[in-house]
């Protein structure tokens, strides 16, 4: 096999090229032997968090399974930008069926592998937030309930990006999308009750549920590895900024993702059999404004007079996450 040239991605303080770590602690991405499951040359926008997340997750899964992996993909940006055939980016067996059925298709692949006695081959299903929390939710819940041997990864960019940035059930309150425009007395997405799919996944009591962001490569890879150590249904919810849909600079993807975690807006934790087993603490707490101001989808909250009342509600949501998961480091943590 010809050797692939390694591209290094800047991923903040846990940088891929962290030569200070011992070899076995380094990331899969820093290893020349990584698969490049989704190879360069695809059509994602510059700074696409989803492209990065998929590459991290699948390369890690490829390493733990020694390359014995099949991926099933829902319709969405990841599917479209990776396969304007014949230029497929996929270096692993990959199947796209529909927008709302990836969990069930993955179940079918897993069943076929089991019946064929090929248990060493593992299955990853993947979709955007729309394909996971909205249209694919029924099939996802069914797959969880049966505890099928599938790792399902949701790349959450908080909207239907592939169709031009419309609202999904994962779109946060007040965010501007094409169907929740920043017009009228309450601009942006309305405040609802939200749909916290990682917690819903936990309520199914499945072996493993975790959240992660593309800002922490070590954590993301470790969680994929941990997920693959279980059999049965597993769920990984990855926070992936979308520069185009969020109106953020392409160069800020990692920064935005890190701030989502550091503000408490996106809690990073893992759970086994329905119980939280680990929480990634906030290292340097930031107010939500620091996160919001980097994104044009929240621009209507700032300026004059701005909407300090609405920003306060968003801060309260972040604070509620901090309290629920104990995200602030305590004395003992130090």
């Amino acid at each position: 096999m010809s050797e692939t040239r390694v591209h290094f991605y800047q991923v903040g303080s846990f940088a891929v090229g962290n030569r200070l770590l011992s070899a076995d602690e380094r990331t899969v991405q820093s290893d020349r032997r990584r698969t490049n499951s989704i190879d360069s040359g695809h059509r994602a926008c510059q700074g696409c968090g989803e492209a990065l997340g998929a590459r991290y997750a699948l390369d890690a899964a490829m390493r733990v399974t020694s390359g014995q992996l099949v991926a099933v993909n829902a319709t969405g940006c990841l599917e479209v930008f990776s396969t304007p055939f014949p230029e497929t980016s996929w270096q692993i067996p990959w199947l796209h069926s529909l927008f709302g059925n990836a969990p069930a298709v993955a179940t079918g692949v897993a069943a076929a592998l089991r019946v064929k006695g090929r248990d060493q081959v593992r299955v990853v299903g993947q979709a955007g937030d729309g394909g996971t929390v909205d249209i694919g939710f029924g099939t996802l819940s069914g797959m969880f309930e049966r505890n099928d041997d599938v790792l399902f990864v949701c790349y959450d960019n908080e909207g239907y990006m592939n169709t031009g940035v419309q609202r999904s059930a994962a779109t946060p309150p007040t965010a501007r999308t094409a169907t929740t425009d920043a017009v009228g007395p309450e601009p942006g997405n309305a405040f609802g009750q939200g749909k916290d799919v990682p917690r819903i996944a936990m309520a199914h009591g499945i072996p493993y549920v975790a959240t992660a962001t593309v800002a922490d490569l070590h954590d993301l890879e470790r969680k994929v590895e941990r997920a693959m150590s279980f059999h049965g249904a597993r769920y990984l919810h990855v926070f992936v900024p979308c520069p185009l849909g969020w109106g953020a600079a392409s160069s800020e993807t990692i920064h935005v993702a890190r701030l989502a975690k550091e503000t408490g807006i996106f809690p990073v934790y893992e759970a086994e059999y329905g119980e939280v087993t680990g929480v990634t603490k906030i290292r340097r707490q930031a107010p939500v404004t620091e996160y919001l101001r980097l994104q044009r989808r929240y621009a209507h909250l700032f300026g004059h007079p701005g909407r300090p009342d609405v920003v306060a509600r968003l801060q309260a949501m972040a604070d509620a996450n901090i309290a629920r998961y104990g995200l602030l480091a305590t004395e003992e943590d130090e």
Binding site: H96, S97, L98, G108, A112, K116, V121, T139
Partner: protein, 415 residues
Amino acid sequence: MLRQIEGSHAIAESVARCRPEVVCAYPISPQTHIIEAIGVMVKEGTLAPCEFINVESEFAAMSVSIGASAAGARAYTATASQGLLFMIEAVYNAAGLGLPIVMTLANRAIGAPINIWNDHSDAMAVRDSGWIQLFAETNQEAADLHVQAFRLAEELSVPVMVCMDGFILTHAVEGVDLLDQEQVDRFLPPYEPRQVLDPEDPVSIGAMVGPEAFEEVRYLAHLRQLDALDRIPEIAAEFSEMFGRDSGGLVRPYRLEDAETVIVAMGSVLGTIKDAVDERRDAGERLGVLGITSFRPFPLEAVRQALAGRERVVVVEKAFSLGMGGVLATDVAMAIGTTTLHTVVAGLGGRPITRTALLDMLERARTGRLATLSFLDLDEGVIARERARMATVRRSGPFAENVLRDLGRPREDQA
């Protein structure tokens, strides 16, 4: 061995002897007895190795079948009516991907108003999906058609739907002679997929196809249906030779010799029609019957031959297109029509319909060179290459992807 058995149970046993590896279904009357019986066989271990998966919807049932089939397993499901409509997006997808899933459709009306009884509206709703649709006249034929269906589906990499009238057949207890395991094994070889998800040989299946190739991909799927027009009677003949029983085929003529009026129909109603015809024949009327077994692909030529020169054709059908009329009748009219009628398929998947192409088509029509069915701007070279590949290599891979790869290559004539 001839046994008195409920239609659904006959189907379950027949399917089980085809050694399905993944069976996934969602209950709906009148299909329930079929999948319940298969479920029992898997659970007690008489059907093994087989995964029986209970899912949360028909959409999931077809999706699981898609995944299983793409990963190389023989997949089976069954549904009816609302269930078929609930899975329709995946029904089209299975055909588009060329996955040889076999499905029993226990034909039932579609609501509103909700109605659990038999008609053919459900089958008609997916007639353009790319599935082969075979209609059984009796439970014996339904049981035999399933064995033929797996053979046909897997040979051609096309999904096959065996349609049998809900309740009238599914719940009728009558004599059925089921093939034993050894007989089925002789007729149906193990499934050797054309495309498969395999880490040793990674392929991408289900890629995006734009206007540059969509028409060719669609046309290839149509050609496979035309291939089925040849293979359906051949497989039926082989079946009959092996087991001494006529089941399947394209059409089923009955007392056509000197018939002036021919009644055309599908499914179990043919039995009643034949009785009526026998009665009128005794009274001296020259009547005949043409049963359609293969509704998709539609055997235009066989129907044309059977109906040529008749005084009157009466189509009896259990479905109709609101605001238009008969569905089967429209197809029959297409076969026997006297006025020259052409179909030109154009603009698939966004391909531009150009003025030049239209003018050329009109010229061919004027000079009598336009076929009954033609495809505007079709790239014959691409079609020929994929057909050649399919003829020489069993594991020829996903055909949409092959076509695109061909298009990406420099042309021999330009290179």
